[in-house]
């Protein structure tokens, strides 16, 4: 990342494009990331939204977006992006609109859509080399319907002693395996890393994905003011690796020098209380730590 215009924090945009006063929860990590992303993308964009918390950003007759917006459905936002992209291309080809009227097509969805219901539409879009940017705010659950676990869920919000037994599906790898233009993970708590990746994504053509881990006070059960701190912990404990894929290569953009123990991240969230109460589940904690260590052993 040599030729970035975001060398240090003070280079981040000072104009903020996204309006305030949305109905999102206080401390929403997804909204934090979206603010930062939108500041860089700007208003020459059309956001194609899938059902989720962010659908409620635009409620008739208000919208915080300075650019355009189309709500589609939970399963087919990438197909909406396809229709808009194709139509804009046709209008440009036929010279019905001048190039300055063109828009960047952006899909905005949660993890339930990106990892699950929308995978068919996403895979089709990648197959067709659709020129679009997919932004997934990943709150690891169906936030809008009450945080049931989605395919992006890490451990449980279901209240069994062990919780949801599965592990997070690797959406990054799923995309990267199909050689799209760009894939990156970001988090609102690391704004400089995020800005550089969005900047890079906007300079590329083709299918591009940004997955933003989105600390969710409501679903993860923590105090809204802790949102950024929890985001930082996700990075420092190695739970959320910041990385990117381009030209067949995956590189990590921020490798924690000394990873904090994963329980530092887990114990501050009510959704993981079952790992600590009524008794510490040592075996489970060790298993989670091991998985993280295994991941990083391959990286460094």
């Amino acid at each position: 990342m040599t030729d970035t215009r975001f060398a240090r924090m003070k280079d981040l945009p000072s104009t903020h494009w996204l309006g305030a006063g949305t109905p999102m929860c206080a401390g929403c990590g997804g909204l934090q990331a979206l603010h930062q992303i939108y500041d860089i993308l700007g208003n020459k964009t059309v956001f194609v939204n899938a059902a989720g918390c962010m659908t409620l950003l635009s409620i008739y007759p208000f919208t915080p977006f300075r650019g355009s917006w189309l709500y589609t459905a939970m399963g087919s936002a990438p197909a909406g992006a396809q229709g808009i992209r194709d139509a804009l291309d046709i209008l440009l080809e036929q010279k019905h609109i001048p190039p300055e009227e063109d828009l960047t097509t952006v899909v905005l969805s949660g993890d339930g859509s990106a990892y699950g219901m929308g995978v068919s539409a996403t895979s089709g879009a990648i197959d067709r080399g659709l020129d679009f940017l997919y932004i997934c705010y990943d709150n690891e659950g169906y936030g809008n319907t009450g945080q049931q676990f989605s395919a992006g869920a890490k451990t449980s919000t279901s209240k069994g002693p062990r919780g949801y037994p599965g592990y997070k599906k690797d959406l990054f790898a799923l995309w990267a395996a199909n050689k799209p233009a760009y894939v990156a993970t970001v988090i609102g708590a690391e704004p400089l890393d995020l800005a550089r990746k969005i900047e890079k994504a906007t300079q590329l053509k083709g299918s591009r994905l940004i997955i933003a881990l989105s600390p969710c006070p409501t679903g993860w059960d923590f105090d809204p003011k802790e949102s950024t701190e929890i985001g930082r912990l996700a990075v420092k404990t190695g739970v959320w690796p910041l990385k990117e894929y381009q030209d067949g290569r995956v590189s990590h953009t921020k490798i924690p020098k000394e990873r904090l123990p994963v329980e530092d991240y887990l114990k501050v969230q009510g959704r993981f209380a079952h790992l600590f109460e009524p008794v510490r589940n040592e075996a489970m904690l060790a298993e989670i730590q091991q998985r993280i260590d295994d991941y990083w052993a391959d990286v460094v």
């Binding site: 208003n43 020459k44 059309v46 194609v48 659908t55 409620l56 635009s58 409620i59 008739y60 007759p61 919208t63 977006f65 300075r66 650019g67 355009s68 917006w69 189309l70 709500y71 589609t72 459905a73 399963g75 087919s76 936002a77 990438p78 197909a79 909406g80 992006a81 396809q82 229709g83 808009i84 194709d86 139509a87 804009l88 291309d89 046709i90 209008l91 036929q94 019905h96 609109i97 300055e100 009227e101 063109d102 828009l103 068919s120 539409a121 895979s123 089709g124 197959d127 067709r128």
Partner: protein
């Protein structure tokens, strides 16, 4: 003008071509595939300007169709049966976007059991979606209806997508002589696509299809869509007259065949109605005053026109090529809702279910239906609903089962 032998599918493709479509999101399904294959050939050979994109499902296909129409281009797409059902979430969704386009549905029975042959349960599942729905009975009508449909869909006081329906196999694969209008004349009739306010442009940011909170704005938008669709009943006749003046063919809200002096009417939609026409002619030779009423528009439902056409008749037989399981024929229920409260409603409204999954309806069955109407109007008693299904068919089914059982027995015995 140019006369050619075309299948119903080819006629649909020609209609789209002549209407000057820009964009075709597509997905294959029998018996519709010939339409997109024909269009794709034209795009490849440069005979058609624009773009075709093959999506990975009909759900995506309708999303892309609506999104492209909402961006400001003229869109055509086509599907059938399971495809229409797979897309159903978006069929309902895109009508609220008020972005007009035309979808051809080639009717085919629904699973299960899975089948290829036609009936109208697929398209009628979209009845309440907000799509205008026009049903065709022959290949010429298919082509002509495509041109009329674009005019109607894009009309500034309507702005709704339209399903043009043709029956699978019987119409989709039957070749008939079709007059193909002149390209320039067709384009003049359809006009340029005018997206109005509904488009995405960098200089004019728009939020489309946003959420509402509460029943008040929701009711407002839903009812507004309803009123826009009803307006199509006023606009349609003007467009049909203009089409007739230009091309010399008239396609009304309804087709009334030998209706004026009739005592009895068959009421049917789609291409099986042409079989009823034959029966009408033969029954008239036998001195029975019968006619055929075929609604072309199913949504909006041309209630007033139907009421006028059936008033003072002695008896109606609605032959439904569909089945609302647990209720009966859908068209029958729709017609009944029109008759209640009109002064001269026919005293007899009989219901027949026929042609499910492409089962033929024979002339003898039409004669039998006519006789049922005559008897009923004598006694004044409406007969119970009936499935057109013969004892012979039932026997054949039983025979096939018996053969299959014997075969299975033999397989068992031959096993080592």
């Amino acid at each position: 003008m140019n006369r050619k032998l075309l299948t119903g599918n080819a006629a649909a493709a020609w209609g789209a071509r002549l209407a000057g479509i820009d964009y075709v999101p597509a997905f294959p399904i029998t018996p519709q595939t010939e339409i997109i294959e024909t269009l794709s050939g034209w795009f490849e050979r440069g005979e058609l300007q624009g773009r075709m994109t093959v999506l990975e499902s009909e759900h995506s296909m309708i999303t892309a169709a609506g999104a492209a129409a909402a961006t400001g281009v003229r869109v055509f797409t086509a599907t059938s049966s399971q495809g229409l059902l797979h897309a159903m979430e978006m069929i309902y969704t895109v009508t609220g976007w008020r972005a007009p386009f035309v979808l051809v549905n080639v009717s085919r029975g629904l699973s299960s059991p899975i089948t290829l042959e036609p009936d109208h349960n697929d398209v009628l599942a979209a009845r309440d979606s907000g799509f205008i729905q026009i049903h065709c009975a022959n290949c010429q009508e298919v082509l002509d209806t495509m041109l009329i449909a674009y005019r109607l869909a894009e009309h500034q006081s309507i702005r709704l997508p339209i399903i043009v329906n043709l029956d699978g196999f019987y119409l989709s694969f039957t070749r008939e002589p079709v007059e193909i209008p002149d390209q320039s004349e067709a384009r003049e009739f359809v006009g340029e696509f005018d997206p109005g306010q509904i488009k995405f442009r960098a200089s004019m940011p728009e939020s489309q299809a946003v959420a509402v909170l509460g029943g008040s704005p929701y009711s407002y938008f839903r009812y507004e869509t309803h009123l826009a669709m009803l307006e199509a009943l006023n606009v349609y006749p003007e467009i049909a007259d203009e089409f007739n003046a230009r091309f010399g063919r008239f396609h009304g809200l309804l087709e009334c065949f030998e209706c004026d002096d009739a005592d009895y009417l068959f009421v049917m939609m789609g291409c099986f109605a042409t079989k009823a026409k034959d029966a009408v002619l033969r029954l008239r030779e036998a001195g029975i005053k019968i006619g055929l009423l075929r609604p072309r528009l199913i949504r909006p439902f041309p209630s007033a026109a139907i009421a006028a056409a059936v008033s003072e008749k002695k008896a109606l037989a609605v032959i439904d090529q569909n089945l609302s399981i647990g209720k009966g024929g859908i068209l029958h229920a729709e017609i009944a809702s029109v008759l209640y409260g009109i002064g001269q409603a026919p005293p007899i409204l009989a219901s027949f279910i026929g042609g499910l999954g492409g089962r033929d309806i024979s002339q003898e069955e039409f004669f039998e239906i006519a006789q049922t109407l005559i008897n009923a109007s004598k006694t004044g008693e409406t007969p119970p609903p009936r499935l057109l299904y013969t004892a012979r068919e039932f026997k054949e089914l039983k025979n096939l089962r018996a053969i299959a059982q014997v075969e299975r027995q033999q397989l068992k015995e031959n096993q080592p």
